[in-house]
Symmetry: C2
Subunit: 672 residues, 2 copies
């Protein structure tokens, strides 16, 4: 639909949409940076969505039964900021719109969930929004099944562009959503045929409608500038039994006389002259950032549309039992189940006595056997490695279209999609997600794992097969740099437990934070229980601790993690037999150790002894402990990997790469 027709036939709609467009142009111009083209293109769709379909109350952005709105094409952030301002969001004031992309503004370059309550998820890295939304839709299905549709009955709407759909992660996400028949998920495709490099067909000729159909979605389409047609499609979307893909044909930079339908309007300000010309075409006779009172009040009425519905919901919520209310509220707030601490304590006590010799991946399965009954909000899963990651416990049914009460997701061979869905599960609320794959395939999930850290999502990544200890599968499957990668990532806890007890403690830490994702790196090979003396204290919470003290004068300190702690303890025996007093420090989590006070850190790693770190991985993260602090001399060494691994049985690889008690003892002696 062209502008003249639109203005004539839908004058009220036109004004509402023009307000979005004008704000987008003005804010990008003021910032001299940003992406005006997308908000200008999708303003009509967004207006109809907010005016007629989205269930929300602008005054209560955290209302738990709201529809979720995800701007997957996050560069078009002015679309959501304009909508929030116009609807009367408490945080997004006109001042914030004017400070778009400036230091300290809540209106950051891309929408950030940690800055604005109404931003459901940080978007910007393409493809993440649509994939995170799949997790939100799973969470809603799960909670609806468990608590009833009087409490949970909402949809997740996504606006996605060509970038989102070209990214590989979108394939994983739409495949998962299609299989799961997530009828509560609606994706609106901003089909404008433009990317940064030019017209889409320069790089992509994919028939997106056919593609979504192939993945099991219901496919609709509309003229993205015709409010009636948009409304028709959105209305039809409500009746689907599968996730819905709506192809919205739009023009990027709609109305800009010289830049519409070109990539030049994608990521740059239009310039004052072009803004003036565009506003003239819009019939928008107002200064920069100026919204006429009637338009603003109509928008505010839209923002208040859901207030009555929310009131009814509050009544329904108030009518359920106080216990259930408290439980739902705790789960939605991400609080810790009171039963967890006791379950972990009992598990530790039992297992320090039983002292099983098991792989830490098996230990993790055992711990989950204690956790999952005590923590009803966990939803586990694996990227098609259930029997290897050992993430499924007996009590978890499988979440699928026939059993929405199941708490285990077969994510398929979709590591990245799984990680993004885990983000969505948490961001929706009510769920603590964990999911497994081989540690090496952190590589495939990095994009979403980084967002877990940035968005403060305490997802738990159960990463098994954590070193050359996996053996025959060889270097493509053997992580060597991945501990360094996880430790390099801000706000990420990287656990590498040494035995069943440390595994339990790592899980306890991972499940009691509300803002930090955890990577738990677990062995394929069996390891003895080292902590056979029970303590209620969570030693992993300290990050590092003395697991075996030196006898006699302390000449050496060995630091190790995971499967190498056992090897370090054997090295200690060799050294002690030669009267070299040797302390062994287990370092299950560097981030937590670094967060301890200096007194504790110096107590664990005192000056004056030779230090050798042992880890079947590269040295980079260890240098900080091998470095003497501020002028303190330390002779130090490292026993680990210098390059990629190799294919052979695990014990032979440890020999080949020289990660043995003997080699460690030799290293210590060479430094004394």
């Amino acid at each position: 639909m062209d502008i003249a027709t639109l203005r004539e036939q839908h004058p009220d709609h036109w004004k509402l949409a023009s307000a979005i467009r004008a704000l987008a142009m003005d804010a990008v111009q003021a910032a001299n940076s940003g992406h005006p083209g997308m908000p200008m293109g999708m303003a009509d769709v967004a207006t109809v969505l907010f005016q007629k379909h989205l269930k929300f109350d602008a005054k209560a952005p955290k209302w738990m039964d709201r529809d979720r709105f995800v701007l997957s094409a996050g560069h078009g952030s002015m679309l959501i900021y304009a909508l929030l301002y116009l609807c009367g969001d408490a945080q997004v004031t006109l001042d914030q719109i004017k400070k778009f992309r400036q230091k300290g503004a809540l209106t950051a370059g891309h929408p950030e969930n940690f800055l604005l309550d109404a931003v459901e998820t940080t978007t910007g890295p393409l493809g993440q929004g649509i994939s995170t939304a799949v997790g939100m839709a799973i969470a809603e299905e799960s909670l609806r099944a468990r608590f009833g549709k009087k409490i949970f009955d909402h949809k997740t709407y996504v606006i996605a562009g060509d970038g989102c759909l070209m990214e590989g992660i979108s394939h994983e996400a739409i495949g998962l959503a299609g299989m799961q028949k997530l009828k509560n998920l609606v994706v609106l495709w901003d089909n404008n045929n433009i990317t940064i490099d030019g017209r889409v067909d320069k790089a992509c000729i994919t028939d997106q409608r056919m593609r979504f159909k192939a993945a099991g979605w219901k496919v609709l389409h509309c003229d993205g500038h015709d409010p009636e047609d948009i409304d028709r499609a959105l209305t039809e979307a409500q009746k689907s039994n599968a996730p819905v893909f709506i192809d919205c044909k739009t023009i990027i930079g709609f109305g800009s006389p010289n830049k519409a339908d070109t990539y030049s309007v994608h990521g740059s300000p239009l310039g004052d002259a072009e803004i003036d010309a565009t506003k003239k075409i819009y019939g928008w006779d107002h200064g920069a950032f100026e919204i006429p009172a009637d338009v603003k009040s109509t928008w505010e009425a839209i923002g208040a549309r859901g207030a009555a519905e929310r009131g009814e919901w509050e009544e329904r919520f108030g009518a359920i039992s106080a216990t259930k209310q408290a439980e739902i509220t705790r789960m939605m707030d991400g609080g810790v189940s009171k039963k967890l601490a006791g379950a972990i304590r009992k598990f530790k006590k039992d297992n320090s006595e039983a002292a099983p010799k098991v792989a830490t991946r098996k230990a993790s399965e055992m711990v989950l056997g204690a956790i999952n009954p005590a923590v009803p909000e966990t939803i586990g899963g694996s990227a098609d490695l259930t029997g290897s990651n050992l993430t499924k416990t007996a009590d978890l049914g499988v979440f699928d279209p026939e059993n929405r009460k199941g708490r285990y997701v077969h994510y398929g061979i979709r590591e990245h999609g799984m990680a993004a869905a885990m983000n969505g599960l948490w961001l929706h609320g009510g769920v603590r997600p964990y999911g497994g794959t081989f540690f090496c395939f952190t590589d495939y999930a990095r994009g979403a794992m980084r967002l877990s850290a940035l968005m403060k999502v305490p997802a738990v990544y159960v990463m098994t097969h954590d070193s050359i200890g996996l053996g025959e599968d060889g270097p493509t499957h053997q992580p060597v740099e991945h501990l360094a990668i996880c430790r390099a990532t801000p706000n990420t806890w990287t656990f590498r437990p040494a035995d069943v007890i440390e595994t339990a403690e790592a899980w306890e830490m991972a499940l009691t934070t509300e803002e930090t994702p955890s990577v738990i790196a677990l062995s394929r090979q069996n390891l003895p229980t080292l902590r056979t003396k029970h303590t209620n204290q969570n030693m992993v919470s300290k990050g590092a601790y003395v697991i075996e003290e030196a006898e006699g004068k302390r000449q050496a300190i060995l630091m190790a993690t995971g499967s190498e702690v056992e090897i370090a303890l054997k090295a200690r025996e060799i050294l002690q037999a030669q009267a070299i007093g040797t302390r062994v420090v287990s370092v299950p989590c560097m981030e937590l150790f670094d967060a301890q006070d200096e007194t504790y850190r110096r107590r664990i790693l005192p000056a004056g002894a030779v230090r050798v770190a042992v880890e079947a991985a590269i040295r980079q993260p260890w240098d900080k402990y091998l470095l003497g602090e501020r002028g303190r001399e330390t002779k130090a060494g490292f026993v680990g990997m210098e390059g990629f691994g190799s294919s052979a049985p695990a014990p032979e690889l440890y020999e080949k790469f020289g990660i043995t008690p003997e080699a460690i003892a030799e290293k210590v002696k060479s430094l004394l």
Copy 2:
């Protein structure tokens, strides 16, 4: 087709295929580790492919006009090992088959290109093979256009499983291949409906045929156990004008009476009893690893099938000019163009005089302007950020279906697919690939970038917008841990040049190695030319060097990279003004510095001075230089990032995070 019919109607084929199946079962059993199900399922397809379609000569696995065969489902490695042994490959002896997955064997758990000549690419991480193959097909199209189909006229065949097709990277790869109309690419889908977690539809209901059709592929199907039907499909594939997807319906572990068509045959040995029972069903009355002479000789004849065709090709190749022969041979061998050194030298000389103040991404574009005419084998590209990465020079036409001579690929918004395609371009031979995206989106390409390193592919990753210096786009786009990630990865050169001269030197290094991928991290913001005194020597090749010496007694050493070298030089001015003698060391590539001899390293970083490292990224990779070597005391500090970035104009972010000349000077003084 069932086994009884197959044995009766195609007895000769059956014996050939049985040989593959028997070897797969025996080798996995002997190793007590591996994946027999896939080779057993795809033996018929592979037999027909090798016997009737694949152009190859087992005695000349590096013949440049051979068809490429990629086992994307690399866990089924015994399929390719069995084929190679049976065809008479010089490396894969029966002894190697017996040593499958053992220490030192060429027959590693997954096929490794660096172990076997006939393995075109390392596979194992799912989805990589099919995506790498797209690069191989592009290389063939490009070379055919440039040198004629008498020299280059071959196909790339891929065997892919459900895992490969579920991974996101496959979406990027098939989208790219479809748009590029790569008719020389044929994917054979092992459609066995089984993954590790069970039946495929537990996680995926995608209609793969429709999906490939949506991406512009020609779609065929066949009974994967009927040799005539397989042959019909492969024959039809020859006539396509688009890439071809053949849905081969197969049964995993075909013939195993108790395990066929179940996941239990996917990744575990069958056991002796089941092997005996299976061989009975096969009518295979031979001991473990035993291949009857007639079967072996038939297979060896298949291995020699292409010898005559290769002879004809050798004649054609011999008939072209000696210059052209030499050029093609050099390009296929990966040798360096003789014109490169001169072009770089001239560029450096010109620019040390002109001393432009440009972003290093712009500097990179300028260098490419000198490189691309001198190095005809480069094929550049970008993941839809051409105008941001500045990877396209004027002389490069666009490679697309209408212009196969173009040397620039619009990869689309497909970072992972781009990286894998770059691997394929190099592995095919004849091409030096480079490609760009934002440095932060290393995250999206990690899977393939790791394989560049493992496979020794000297791809060049042009990673612009390398720090908070990109400004307003905010933390999702601002790398902080990515330098650490690249530096942690074995066999990867991470360059962060400080000015136009270092940028040229980094490019020279990247283009003269035949075994190491390079990441060149480049600034968005302008930087002055620091190296205004020309030298022919490539200083970046040393990894680190003194860019400004201390005046007076050397009390401090500042180390910095990229955009922070300028800041360190300003800090030096402050310190020198206070009579604190300060050396500034530019560290454009840690890996190359660490490879220098100790004398050089000590000369650049001598003992006795305070050391402060400056980089707008996290500290992890720097600790090794802040650590005094073996008992040498060093007071050291770091000025950089401790967490994620933020959205604001770049200069304000440098202030906010305290990466300023003043902060550096203060840090030095606090340590003195």
